[in-house]
Symmetry: C2
Subunit: 322 residues, 2 copies
């Protein structure tokens, strides 16, 4: 090792100094000399060798099915900031972990170069195993077998429903995501619970499914808005769906919120761009990402961290008020 030669010490000493284990083992003078030599030579430790020897790569993978959803970028950002503070790196892996097997990217990285995984998941297959014994923390999905961090969709839904209720809406439809997954099941359950608590039969309400894209959401929304028993308000599983519904209402000449009120979820940037702007249930994705990393980090240290549920906030705009 060149750095060792230049500093006039052994390779072991260099390793001790640069990995921060110097105190009590190496004098300040020597440590400074090593650091100076390393800087002058532009030395960078080899990550592969370090990972091989130490068994830890100081890197965690964030696995996501679709990186495109705007909500996700902010989750990543939160995880990344938390990771950086702990001296780790987050690498993002786009992968449809279909069944926890195969030669997916996750499997490819699971041995040696990644310490653990954050699964950003609408739904997690029952068959998911911790690949190569690497710990996993699930983001936005709850199950008994694995640690998780998720959003309080129940609370958010309850707040949105209470808001609509206070505006006089009794029959409220549910425009659901066809993506499936716990997130949306929770919203649907909380929606149904509210209706039942106010003497309505959820089964009798107008509901429909659409995907998170304009073509699908507008087409389905048009159909829902054309029903003879159209409700006076719709809870939409996501701002993208809500935007689709508003676009459909505009096309059909239905006034929002006069004839139909619309509520979304997530408070995407898009929520301010629709006409009218969207009332929506906001979450804090950065906090979600940070909490997820912290759980994983605790597990890597051998701990047994507690699962977390993060709160929501209702943002009222013109699609329900005025």
């Amino acid at each position: 090792m060149d750095v060792a030669k230049r500093a006039g010490v052994s390779q072991s000493t260099v390793s001790l100094v640069l990995s921060g284990k110097a105190p009590g083992r190496v004098s300040t003078t020597t440590a400074d000399a090593v650091r100076a030599a390393a800087r002058e030579l532009g030395y960078r430790p080899n990550a592969a060798a370090r990972a091989l020897r130490s068994g830890t790569a100081s890197a965690v993978g964030l696995v996501v099915r679709d990186v495109t959803h705007p909500f996700f970028g902010r989750t990543l950002r939160g995880a990344q900031q938390a990771a950086r503070a702990a001296g780790h790196v987050v690498v993002l892996i786009q992968d449809d972990y279909s069944g926890g097997g195969g030669d997916s990217a996750v499997q490819g990285l699971s041995e040696g170069s990644i310490d653990g995984f954050l699964f950003f998941a609408a739904k997690v297959p029952r068959s998911l195993r911790e690949p190569g014994g690497r710990p996993i923390v699930i983001v936005e999905y709850e199950q008994s077998r694995m640690p998780f961090v998720r959003l309080d969709s129940e609370g958010g839904t309850a707040a949105a429903m209470a808001h609509l209720h206070a505006l006089g809406h009794a029959r409220i439809g549910h425009f659901r995501s066809s993506a499936g997954g716990q997130t949306f099941d929770r919203r649907h359950d909380a929606w149904a619970a509210h209706l039942r608590a106010h003497g309505q039969d959820p089964e009798a309400q107008v509901t429909g499914f659409a995907a998170f894209d304009a073509t699908s959401s507008i087409a389905v929304a048009k159909e829902l808005l054309s029903r003879p028993d159209r409700p006076s308000a719709f809870l939409c599983d996501d701002d993208l769906l809500a935007a689709g519904m508003i676009a459909a209402a505009n096309e059909l000449g239905i006034d929002v919120p006069g004839e139909v009120a619309v509520v979304g979820f997530d408070d995407l940037d898009l929520a301010r761009l629709t006409n009218p702007p969207l009332t929506t249930v906001r979450f804090d994705p950065e906090a979600l990402g940070a909490a997820a990393f912290e759980l994983l980090h605790a597990r890597l240290q051998g701990g047994r961290p507690k699962n977390r549920v993060l709160p929501s906030e209702l943002v009222v705009r013109a699609s329900t008020a005025g």
Copy 2:
């Protein structure tokens, strides 16, 4: 190594078989036995050891300043598909490579665990160096020092301007991205070139800058739309800006496209959700990502690949027509 023991061969033989170098060195019978043993034991080669020994990690990093932009996810998807076909993995790194130095994630990964980098860049600092001698391919930025892949913004802008011209628009404003960078400079230059070619002075047109978020774009758009010398059409650097302008027009009671026509770039999903839907210049981000990976891969093989410029397509919707 357990696999070797189980198959009754040496570790060397296992390595030969599993890395595909068996033909001519190992008999089919032995090779099959090794593969069977590996499968039964659920053996996964250690990526760190492999990277250390071979000097290549079969992984490339895609570095991006902000993963949130919808356009980006699709670029990643394209790169990932191309990489998978070549037996590589793409990891995504969110990093503001501010000056090519520091203890950024890029630097942290540059030695040993990543073979090369794709820089998805609005702008690339002059000081950017290939970290640790790892090759870089720039995405959507052109300079003489490094290989690049970019979109034909000139051609796209020319098509959009020709379209507006054919509809009778002579004075055309430019709603510009404050993000800066070559992409937008090219669009601005092509916009100016068109105007000059038709006897207009670009300097005399209405222009303004905004960021890619609703707050900024709507506020600036309102100001532009309120100018006494408001043009009959606006070219917007991005669909997000265009959506902001449409939202602002709606708020101000200005009819789109009757009083002002709006054109965006990228054909984001959002482009179908605005009211009216957006005429926009579409690119193929998947192709961009794939081309970028292919250039990097060629460089890793020691080649000197040619830079590439990918074509555009004008998508006409209601924000300019009828």
